[in-house]
Amino acid sequence: MSKIQIPLGPQHPALKEPENFMLVLDGEQIVDATVNLGYNHRGVEKAAENRNYIQDIYLIERICGICSHSHVSCYINAVEEIAKAEVPQRAKAIRTLVAELERVHSHLLWLGVAAFELGYDTLFMYTWRDREQVLDCLEMISGNRVHYGINTIGGVRRDITKEQAEEILKKIKFLHERTSYYVGVVTEEPTFLARTQNVGKLPKDVALELNAVGPTARASGVDIDVRRDEPYFIYDQLDFKVITHNTEDVFGRAVVRVLETIESYKMIEQILKNLPEGPISVKVPWKIGPGEAVFRYEAPRGEDIHYVKANGTEYPERVKVRAPTLANFQSIPYCLKNGYLADAIITIAAIDPCMSCTDRAVVYDYKTGKKEVFDWEGLRKYSIEFYKKKGVSFK
C-alpha cells in the first residue's frame, strides 16, 4: 500500500475553526504530520495599537471566545503594572472568581468536545447541559455568558451581592456532584479508556523541550502552574492543589482537566465565603507610561503571556499576545507521529486548541513559492504602503 496524504482541514467536521494538518498515512498509521497555521489571522495586535487602553479591553476580550477573561486579565495586569495602580482586594477577588468560573466552563466544554471527537455523544450532551449552570453564574455576575466585560483598568465594573454569592454556591454544589460523576466516566468507561490510553504520547522531556504549557504539560508530569509559581490576584491566599498526571497521554490530559475543575469548585467556595469588603475599583489616568510590562497568567488552556509597551499617551505602543495554544501546537506533530488516523483528532483536541487566539499570518509568494515572515518594522512599512494605496494617509 502506497502512502497517501490526507488533509485534515481547513474545512473538516471535527475542527471547530479552520486550521490545516497534513497527515501522511501508511494504511491507518500516521508517518508524518505538519501543522499549517494562518487561516484565522485577524490582526488583533495591530488593531490594539489604534485604540486606547479602555477600548483595548473589549478588543482583547474578543481574542478568544472561551478564555476571554484570561486574555483581558493578563493585558489589564500588565497595564496596571505600568500605571502603578493599586487594585482593591475585593476587585481582585471578583476577578479570581470569574477566572475560576471560566476555567470550569472551559474544561467542561473541552470534555464535551473530546467526547464528541471520540463519538461519545452522550457524554458530550451531558457535559454541555451541565455547563449551562456555570454560564448562568457568569451571566448573573457580569450580564454576559461569554464576553463578560467585567474587568476595567483599576478594578472590576460590577459588584457581587450576597444573594448572587449564595446562588453561585448552590450551583457550584450541583456542578461538583456532576463533575464527580464525570471523573468516574473518564477513569472507568472502557471504550473511553481504550481510545485515550497510550494515545498521543508526550514524554516529560519532550514536553519541556517543546515548551508545552497548562494541562498538556501537567499531564506529562511537568509540575507548572502560574497560579502557584507566581501568584497573581488572590491565588496566594487560596488553598488548592496543582494536578499533575504521569501517563503522558490523552487520558492524562482528560484526568488533569476534570480534577482541575473540582479544584476550581473548592477555590470558588473559598473566595465566596471570604469575600473582602471595600471598593471595587480605583481611578487610573487615561495616559499611561512610559514603560513596559510582561504578565503571565494561567488560562484554562495554559500559560498566557501578554506584553504591553506604553509610551505616555492613551494608546499602547505595542501589545503582544502569546496564547497558550501557540505553545502547545509545537507538540502536536510529535504526538501525531506513529499514531493512528483515528486518534489524530483526539490528539489534536487534547491540547484544547484555540486557533483564532494563536494564528499568525505568513506571507507566501505563490509565484516563487517563497515563505516570508515580516519583522515589525517591515510589517509597519508594508501596512502604511498598503493603506496609502487605498488613499488613507498617515501623517
Partner: protein
C-alpha cells in the same frame, strides 16, 4: 391472481413499502430514544421521511474520476439484496420462501451491502472514502465470523438450517432460548458492527474521515444508501428475532404480526442502548475485540449447543 400476489408481496408487504415505512419508523424511534437518553428533544416523527425526500430531490454529483456506471448502480444493488432477505424471514405467518439452508443465503445476501459499501468508497477515489472503504473491509473480518457462528449455534440446537424451522423449534422449546443468551448477545454486538453504528462506526466516523465511504455520494444515491442501511437494521432485528427468540411463536395473522413488531422493536432498542452507552473504538480495537471475545463466546455457545443436542 397467481402472478399478482407475489408481485404485491415484493412491492408492498413484506417487501419494499412495508420495509421502507417500518425502517423509517425504527430510525425515528432510534433517534428519539437516543435524544431522550441524551437529554435532548429529538426529531418529530416525520423527520426520517423528510430527510429521505430532501435527499431524493437533491442534485447527484458524480466525481470525475469515478466509474460512473458502478458509482450509480451500487446503491440499488445494496437495497435490492437487503429487501430480498425479508422474504425468507417470517413476518406474517410463514415466510414467502423457506427451504433447508436459507439461513446461509440470508447471511450471504446480508454480506452484499457491506461489499457495496466497500465498492462505493473505492470507486469514489477520494482519500477519505478510500480509507473508509478499507475500514469497511477490515471491520467485515471482525463481525462476520461471530455473527455467523452465533446463528450456527441455534441451527445446531434446532437441527435445521432453515430460519422458519429454527423459530418453530424455539416456539416448541422456549427454555432453549435461555441456553442461547450468550449467542444472542454476540449476535447483537456483531450486528452493531454490521450496521456500522457506535461503537463500531469507524468506516464513516465523521470526525475522522468526514463521510467515510459515502463522502462523495450525494442526493438520490445517498438517500438510497441510507434507506438501505435503515432497512438492514429492520432485517437484522427480524432475523435475530426469528433465530434466537422464537419468531412469531407460530401465530399467524394480525397477532403474529404484532408479536413481530414488538420483538423487533425490543431488539432495536437494545441496539440503541449500545449506541448511547459507548464511545467509538478504533478499527483495530474492533477486530481485536471480535476475535478475542465474540468469537470464543460464539464457539463456546456452539459447544454447549452440541452437548445439549447429543445429551438430551
Amino acid at each position: 391472481m397467481d402472478t399478482i400476489m407475489p408481485l404485491l408481496y415484493i412491492a408492498v408487504f413484506p417487501g419494499f413499502v412495508f420495509l421502507g415505512a417500518y425502517a423509517t419508523l425504527i430510525q425515528w424511534i432510534d433517534r428519539k430514544v437516543t435524544a431522550v437518553m441524551q437529554n435532548r428533544v429529538g426529531p418529530p416523527i416525520y423527520q426520517p421521511i423528510a430527510d429521505f425526500i430532501k435527499l431524493i430531490s437533491k442534485e447527484v454529483v458524480i466525481p470525475d474520476n469515478a466509474d460512473e456506471i458502478l458509482f450509480k448502480s451500487i446503491p440499488y444493488i445494496a437495497l435490492a439484496s437487503i429487501i430480498t432477505t425479508i422474504f425468507m424471514i417470517p413476518v406474517w405467518g410463514t415466510p414467502m420462501v423457506s427451504f433447508e439452508g436459507d439461513i446461509v443465503v440470508i447471511v450471504y445476501l446480508l454480506t452484499i451491502p457491506t461489499v457495496t459499501f466497500f465498492l462505493a468508497g473505492w470507486s469514489s477515489t477520494s482519500p477519505y472514502s478510500t480509507i473508509g472503504s478499507m475500514r469497511v473491509m477490515t471491520q467485515l473480518f471482525g463481525y462476520e465470523v461471530p455473527l455467523f457462528l452465533s446463528f450456527a449455534g441455534c441451527a445446531i440446537i434446532a437441527q435445521s438450517w432453515s430460519v422458519y424451522k429454527i423459530s418453530e423449534y424455539f416456539t416448541q422449546n422456549p427454555l432453549m432460548i435461555l441456553v442461547n443468551i450468550p449467542g444472542f448477545i454476540v449476535a447483537l454486538l456483531a450486528s452493531q458492527g454490521k450496521l456500522e453504528r457506535v461503537p463500531f462506526d469507524t468506516p464513516h466516523a465523521k470526525n475522522e474521515i468526514v463521510g467515510g465511504q459515502f463522502t462523495e455520494y450525494s442526493g438520490r444515491l445517498l438517500g438510497i444508501f441510507l434507506l438501505a442501511i435503515d432497512i438492514e437494521m429492520v432485517v437484522l432485528a427480524a432475523l435475530i428475532n426469528a433465530v434466537f427468540l422464537g419468531g412469531l411463536h407460530n401465530i399467524s395473522g394480525f397477532f403474529g404480526f404484532a408479536i413481530f413488531i414488538i420483538k423487533t422493536l425490543v431488539v432495536c432498542l437494545i441496539l440503541t442502548l449500545f449506541k448511547v452507552l459507548m464511545a467509538r473504538v478504533r478499527v483495530d480495537q474492533m477486530v481485536k475485540f471480535s476475535w478475542k471475545y465474540l468469537v470464543p463466546v460464539a464457539v463456546i455457545q456452539i459447544l454447549i449447543d452440541l452437548y445439549i443436542r447429543l445429551k438430551f
